[in-house]
Symmetry: C2
Subunit: 142 residues, 2 copies
């Protein structure tokens, strides 16, 4: 009950629920955040281009995009050169929440890390990146 995996899982769920509550007023949910971040950086990407930026599987992204379209955050337009692809565009609504969403995310980050010093936070992130690297190594090699 105290293994790293168990604690990481627990922490991740808590963080997602905090984010969910705080961004609910903006009309978005946590799963949409990575996609929104990417589109706020650069609009009009294809699903494939987005996929390279968001660390989830293609099918998960496709479903997330469908919900975002339903929720009026994005629209899909036909790709000018490739009929299989579609370009993905933020709606006015999707654009308008950008600053507030950034602020909220940064605010949460600060709050939950408030008990850690800058050095500890850095160490914490470093450990996670090392573990992630280790997992990817283990899982691709054998």
């Amino acid at each position: 009950m105290n293994s790293a995996g168990y604690v990481v899982n627990n922490l991740a769920r808590l963080l997602v629920e905090v984010l969910r509550k705080r961004i609910a007023p903006l009309g978005i949910v946590p799963g949409q955040f990575p996609t929104l971040l990417a589109l706020w950086e650069k609009d009009g990407l294809t699903q494939k281009e987005l996929l390279a930026l968001v660390d989830i599987e293609q099918a998960t992204l496709a479903n997330t995009l469908t919900r975002m379209e339903r929720d009026g955050l994005i629209s899909r337009k036909e790709h000018p050169a490739d009929a299989r692809a579609r370009t993905i565009h933020l709606t006015d609504q999707g654009q308008s929440i950008r600053d507030e969403a950034y602020r909220t995310a940064m605010q949460i980050n600060e709050e939950v890390l408030a008990d850690l010093s800058d050095e500890e936070t850095e160490a914490f992130l470093g450990y996670m990146h090392r573990i992630i690297g280790r997992i990817k190594e283990v899982e691709t090699k054998p």
Copy 2:
């Protein structure tokens, strides 16, 4: 894309998938692990007693138990004194995988933490517990 929350989420998903692959041969899935750990410790608990041990919501546990019953890991019997409650019992199959499951979980824990020293691992767990504490404080007070 580099906030603590994002990285924690990513790491949690990676760890769950590692666990999923490794315990698949045992006929169990990650969501069943906490419940199994509790029942291996003490069999014949009620759902309410289990709930106190597993850090998930009651509805999630009820669904997990239903899948575990379907998969032949547990059975539910009527409670001797309270007709609302049912006691939860491991089947022979649920019992038989115990040692192998423990070994697998410990093995994964070791592997993914292999790049961290004992002190670093301790620090890592400590940071997570502090963040969890902070979240619970923030989310219950205001």
